[in-house]
Subunit: 365 residues, 4 copies
Amino acid sequence: MALMASIFGTLFRVSTWGESHGGGVGCVIDGCPSRLPITAEEIQVELDRRRPGQSDIVTPRQEEDTCRILSGVFQGQTLGTPILVAVDNKDARPSAYTEMETMFRPSHADFTYQTKYGIRNWEGGGRSSARETIGRVAAGVVARKVIRTLHPSYEVVAYVRSIHDLESDVDPATVTTTEVDATPVRCPDPKAAEAMIARIKEVRSRGDSIGGIIECVVRGVPPSLGEPVFDKLEADLAKAMMSLPATKGFEIGSGFAGSRLTGSEHNDAFVIEAGKVTTATNRSGGIQGGISNGEHIFFRVAFKPTATIAKSQQTVTVEGEPAELAARGRHDACVLPRAVPMVEAMVNLVICDHLLRQHGQNVLP
Amino acid sequence: MALMASIFGTLFRVSTWGESHGGGVGCVIDGCPSRLPITAEEIQVELDRRRPGQSDIVTPRQEEDTCRILSGVFQGQTLGTPILVAVDNKDARPSAYTEMETMFRPSHADFTYQTKYGIRNWEGGGRSSARETIGRVAAGVVARKVIRTLHPSYEVVAYVRSIHDLESDVDPATVTTTEVDATPVRCPDPKAAEAMIARIKEVRSRGDSIGGIIECVVRGVPPSLGEPVFDKLEADLAKAMMSLPATKGFEIGSGFAGSRLTGSEHNDAFVIEAGKVTTATNRSGGIQGGISNGEHIFFRVAFKPTATIAKSQQTVTVEGEPAELAARGRHDACVLPRAVPMVEAMVNLVICDHLLRQHGQNVLP
Amino acid sequence: MALMASIFGTLFRVSTWGESHGGGVGCVIDGCPSRLPITAEEIQVELDRRRPGQSDIVTPRQEEDTCRILSGVFQGQTLGTPILVAVDNKDARPSAYTEMETMFRPSHADFTYQTKYGIRNWEGGGRSSARETIGRVAAGVVARKVIRTLHPSYEVVAYVRSIHDLESDVDPATVTTTEVDATPVRCPDPKAAEAMIARIKEVRSRGDSIGGIIECVVRGVPPSLGEPVFDKLEADLAKAMMSLPATKGFEIGSGFAGSRLTGSEHNDAFVIEAGKVTTATNRSGGIQGGISNGEHIFFRVAFKPTATIAKSQQTVTVEGEPAELAARGRHDACVLPRAVPMVEAMVNLVICDHLLRQHGQNVLP
Amino acid sequence: MALMASIFGTLFRVSTWGESHGGGVGCVIDGCPSRLPITAEEIQVELDRRRPGQSDIVTPRQEEDTCRILSGVFQGQTLGTPILVAVDNKDARPSAYTEMETMFRPSHADFTYQTKYGIRNWEGGGRSSARETIGRVAAGVVARKVIRTLHPSYEVVAYVRSIHDLESDVDPATVTTTEVDATPVRCPDPKAAEAMIARIKEVRSRGDSIGGIIECVVRGVPPSLGEPVFDKLEADLAKAMMSLPATKGFEIGSGFAGSRLTGSEHNDAFVIEAGKVTTATNRSGGIQGGISNGEHIFFRVAFKPTATIAKSQQTVTVEGEPAELAARGRHDACVLPRAVPMVEAMVNLVICDHLLRQHGQNVLP
């Protein structure tokens, strides 16, 4: 469903642009329905959930990430033309990255970008920086508003399900964004959240980093979204999530655990509730045959520990000499708290695009 | 990277067509490089690994699945024009499906197709049938040959890693297709394979079904494949896998388990081996920053148990009445043995497309 | 708006496949709305308008071009899944083409296909044969029916406007398909038609060929179709026409002659008619700013004389030796009569795709 | 070949953004090869050929159109990542457009934008303004440099062939950009240029406008570019030209006049020159079967007279009342001088994209 490289979506098309260091970052949204009321302030709310420096457990880089809308909106409403959202790059300290010019950070994108492109912006993560996701988060706000205009009960709630070996207990059916945002770690289980925060601080103090799992529930999705056979809804969600930095796995509904059940245990019986076909259980995760069935969609995404750590690591230089590297930048010891709005944004982009596509194909009376 | 719905790929574009019951199934391959020697016989080899009736643990439906090439090949070589591969539908017994006209199979695509399209081919699985994957497997053979012409050491080996709760012990670095195909269950660990075969037969005798996990290793992938930020190589592999029937999860390299490690444990140190930059470990799974790094790519795909089972299940009719359904068709109690060539085919499609794209962007001296 | 190479359209996607000699030709239609009643017989009507041997002024090749629908239709209605339409190749006489193996026909595609692909199917025109348009014409019938279901007054009438230096007098506002098909040359001006028929026969008797101009009017197009800035409706029509074999030019509304007017002469004044905004004149040709305005769309397409002629011509061999070539195949001395349904088909594909796209973007209340 | 709406190209993808009034205009280039040296200054050269106020025969609006590169370039070289080029909007006088809020300009895009989107930026031409082409011209500079790096002899020269009824005499084989830019009207025939300049001034003084024809020759195009059957090179050129504002027709090689020739008159005989296959004549216009043959490509584009004129015209208001409109903005009485770089830019985009595509498909040894 991504058209290509830096363009995502078929009818609701988002291209992101920008490196972590350089003139700025942002997105262009092409194909947005017209007459949608939208302001930079609404977009800012989600950018603020994503930005560095928002709490004492994320990177202390001071990036305000204030966005401007440069086109596509007139008198507060979308024109149906491309919407450019731009955020300037400000708190750049390329000096923190001088080693990157000559060394490859282990498990980062330095080596592969250099190999593929023969050049890379070594003053930070360049295009592979999480800063690129600003454009995604901004576009996600617009996408969400399009969906909600047509389906007011639509809502996406992502949250930290586990960090390192710390699990939480959350009910996807009822969890709210308020609960998620109640703690800086964005785990809605307060007790688990406390332990996670302590763990992040402890790991950071050792110059190390940790990963975890984000779970996401999408409620109020209309049935009929998804286009088999290749653009199944779960396939596009998987792609969307695996395109986020640091992701290593995706599972929907019963997921990997579902592979250990029998069919009679796993199948979701159809039942009639309030005159409507529904399922008694939801191991399908809200999608059957690649198409939403009207139940909650829920899935999990695995994030690896941040690659850039202060601890000294073995690596090689651009010239192919063995070297030691200890990162000096101000990095997240754990990306998950800030990844929550990114996951939600990508869900919004996928659902909005499929919603428009459903309107575009399903036209006969 | 899928262009849309039934079209997959950007430069090496495959569209599949066909329902399980109807005139036939197949694919059109658009954008294939010219002058590739290819025959129907080469394609047939992989179709035979996919076809029903190949062993006593898969569905006994007798479908020969003999393919013909109707266009795009001249005197044994590709013309660079669209290649149509067609397989007739033969052993169709719509009578086995009469209940499907009026009832929705739980956890199958009947309900969602009916809801989305207002119509469905109920004489079998229609478009959601695994029979649709014939076109993918056929195209995968062509894709693989394109890749191997340029990178002779390229090879994909998928295999059954687990079935139900039965695990196997396989070394991805060395496993071969011969070992995989040594048993009908396509698990290259002979002892585990024996247990798996017994388990499948036992479950089938109870009218039930089981799922499992397929692991896949890709060796000889050149570095530099993958196009950040949306068409990261792992994102396109995830989408490709999650577009296969019955899949519920995807993980690459360290996967979900990687979320429990620290950065210092997880990072793959760069080292020089034989004058070449390589990684001491491979938790990245051969991809960093969305781009192949030249190491082995490996990933796992979770398959749910077959939805269509002989056991009686609770469901509803098209009219919304509660009903009981016990499927009478001849179905696989476990799809994994036949899904192995499907997984490999999708890998070939993704890698071939990204290989052509790399040739298409990386043109400057 | 063409996605790529052999795939046309964004939401209503048509891929054609097949060479003039080989297993057959046809198309796959992906993204067609479901529940559209459609039969092979309806498609056959238009294929018969396109086929060789239909009259004594077109090529006498006897190709029945009988089509079959192999997928995507169930009990007479579209399923919303890919529709494969296939036509077998029958009256092939590759012996008529043996010289083509070693020589390039002047102004044909032999040389460029050989240069680009390093191979070509020389048993006929291969992929550059007008036979490829069978798939377009078939898909055009389906597209037209989708449009008419939503806009019953929609109709496309193309006709031969001139042949060689013979002009006709036709009123685009009222011309009907019955008038067009009244003579084998498809010029609705009976007197001009007579002269054109005589001219074609005369030129053919000299072993030569002639070109001409097709004009096309589209009535009942709803306003709002077209997507600036690149997918303007006239841009997509231009591309569609210029993708047909033998076309050399496209003009819409006032066209090239419009370049000689002043703005005050050229502008279409807006007036109110029956409470509706309309234009007093229609030099815009029904499209303003790339978007249909509800007036008639009309345009002209220039076709060059058929490249393959019986007269002896100077050329070179594949080995680069000078040579003489006199084609022996049975070719049209003038392609225009058979090109009329091709032009109409491409209009249907463009309008249908933009109609679905309009439904897909214009979703807010 | 346009992907959709505001995105053009398949591998070399350009999206333009921006309205004539608002934050700015520009483009994002996605898929550009890496390590191309490029500066804002090089881009500025072409923007200056396009900008208002450059001479006394174009609109006197003072727009400097100074461009900035915000991403995708590092230390003077492309990174292979999206390149954002931005130009601020400065000399905006929305007061000149207040009537546009309530009235539709005849033959402009006001009515169709309002109808399609239900909203329009009436402070100028919005998205339909020629100002949108700034992004195209900027991207064209980058595209041209990619092509020239691989094919140094590549050059595009567009020029004004006629204005109103004033024709010029130009030899496409030898015409140079220096000759074209020698006069502000960009007609390389000095005598004709003089008359054209006088005519433009005379028409402008009457509050009217005029159109004309731009001819373009492309030299040094490598053979093998173009992808039949839909993405024929002439089809993509036609679309590219017809997507420019004010265009009404496109013809290539012999064009409409070619429709009056016989095959024996029209065909380009193949001959051997200096050991290379070439054509004795070039009525094909450098493209055969949709693929470049190595000869010069040349084509013509018809432009209508500017729609916005000072003369009073009949129109209707947004409320559907008859009205009189006399435009007060500062508009070009003839767009052709400024359209020359736009035509060249679109050629560069089409050729560059097809060049990359040729590298992407033609990969086998």
